[in-house]
Amino acid sequence: MDKENAEMNAELIPRFTWEHVVMAPWRENGSFTIWIVLMGFFVTAGCGLIGNYLLLRRMALVGDAISHSILLGLVVGFLIFREVTTPVMFGAAVLTGLLTVGIIEFVHRQSRIKVDAAICIAFTLLFALGVVILSVAEIGGPVHIDAECVLYGEIAFVPLEPLVQMGQFVLGPPSVLRMGLVTLGVIALIAIFYKELKITTFDPGLAAALGYRIGVWHYGLMGLLSLVIVSAFEAVGAILAIAMLIVPPMFAAELSDRLVGRLLWTVIHAVLSSLLGYHLAVWLQCSVAGAMVVMAAFLFVLIWWAKLTVRGLHRYLMSIKLNRASEV
């Protein structure tokens, strides 16, 4: 019986060998590996950094909403311009992102509907519109946008894209370059406007009283969020991008109670989850984006559990100390 189980497991989970899982991807297929891991890192870091602000503003669901409603923007953008170039993609994403947030606030303000319900109404409506227009367009013309690709993405296809070249230099696959630029942009904007983002997130009342235009910062952040999500789309798709918005900040929140510290831990988490996630995918021969998200979540659970254990141990040691003291 035991032997039978073992054989079944052997089929389901491939054998882990250091050589095959860790060394081979870099030695035999280095450029392939580096683009995938780099893309994973850019996605996780870019989403995670913005995600810190979403979590602190209690807007985690808004990331979910925008990642779905962007489908409408992409479809409409494609129908109008008949091409999917970066400017069209970015423009469509930012417009639908802001439209989503605008609708959420309008519904919430003009009725008794609470914010969470307003979010659900707004993004399902826009997503459904996207689906309808997409299916109509498919019948009327040679348009095909793969719904599965939009939902899950496929990071393993990234190295197969024709590489962008600049004279002699090979820069890399276009989606990695785009995501890299967006992530660098996110880092630069957070560094420059650190003070403004902090005060409008922590105490919008005081910020407004001091003369800050909190609406500008709110919509600016939402526009940036839309850019990050649309760039992450090709790699991880709509659903996994949401995980990358939320999991890295949760990991960072366990490790630091300063905003700077949390942003740094988010980047470290991005390195670990993209690298370890890729090797997990090589080992299990599974979806790379899925493995990266699983690894990201696993790292969070690990830290969480470690903190609970340390706290429990601390309490136990204290109780022993107290017992001894009372005995004396």
Partner: protein
């Protein structure tokens, strides 16, 4: 228009004319007219839902006005926002936010900094001085969630002090603080008044309001009375403000009777 000692040359710290504010078309403040003289320490008193916090927020332009206007030192709020210090209600922020005491107080300096500019050495010195004034300097590096309610309120006060303003608007600074902290805060407010600053403080406790403030603003959706405390604190005014609420009225009777006994 109720007016308490103003001069033509110096515009008053706060002038409010026919201010009406509505939430979802339901008015919460009607036609408030007000001129606050410089150096006044005004207690804003009224029952729950009287619009005390609304008045403060409307003055700062945090709420849309249905009608009327507000002038701070003779100008619009936006033009003089540098001269206004604000202490929001303690519940208005998330105390689990990843930020320490010093960073919160430094936010009081943010109004003076340009876009993208970081607080400098001078800002840190001012923030440290303000923390020292409220006796919170030893806690400068503490995460704000690890403070007691009274300590949190003192941090908010230090942040307002760091604004180095001329007019202070404070929303329930005594809410949920112990007696010692309350006394310490009152002392700081009096020190501010001695420096010629003007203060408007939302307060919920009637007996101590009479003791703390030299001016009272009685509010119940409309302005019931505004002026010097000794002139305003009358049974008639308080009855108009609080309506027929027995518990509050008996409180007033008690306060007034102890007042006459003391004489």
């Amino acid at each position: 228009m109720r007016q308490v000692g103003s001069s033509e040359t110096n515009p008053p710290p706060l002038e409010v004319h026919d201010l009406t504010v509505a939430y979802q078309k339901k008015p919460v403040l009607y036609g408030v007219d007000l001129i606050v003289p410089q150096g006044a320490m005004v207690g804003i008193v009224g029952p729950n839902g009287a619009g005390k916090s609304t008045l403060i927020k409307a003055v700062m332009g945090l709420l849309p006005l249905s009608s009327g206007w507000v002038k701070i030192f003779g100008r619009s709020y936006r033009e003089s926002c540098q001269r206004v210090g604000y202490v929001p209600q303690r519940e208005s922020v998330d105390w689990d936010f990843p930020i320490n005491v010093m960073e919160v107080v430094l936010m009081g300096r943010y109004g003076r900094l340009r876009l993208g500019q970081r607080p400098g050495k001078r800002d840190r010195e001012v923030a440290a001085e303000c923390l020292d004034k409220v006796k919170m300097l030893p806690f400068a590096k503490r995460q704000i969630g690890n403070l007691s309610g009274g300590q949190q309120q003192r941090v908010f006060l230090a942040r307002a002090l760091a604004q180095e303003s001329d007019l202070y608007l404070m929303d329930e600074p005594f809410l949920g603080v112990d007696a010692a902290t309350e006394a310490a805060i009152v002392e700081i407010l009096r020190e501010l008044r001695r420096q010629g600053k003007t203060l408007m403080v939302v307060h919920h406790d009637l007996p101590s309001a009479r003791e703390y403030f030299d001016h009272l603003l009685l509010l119940n959706m409309r302005l019931v009375a505004f002026g010097r405390t000794e002139e305003i604190f009358t049974p008639e005014n308080l009855q108009t403000t609080y309506g027929g609420r027995l518990t509050i009225l008996s409180e007033v009777v008690r306060v007034l009777s102890t007042q006459s006994e003391n004489r």
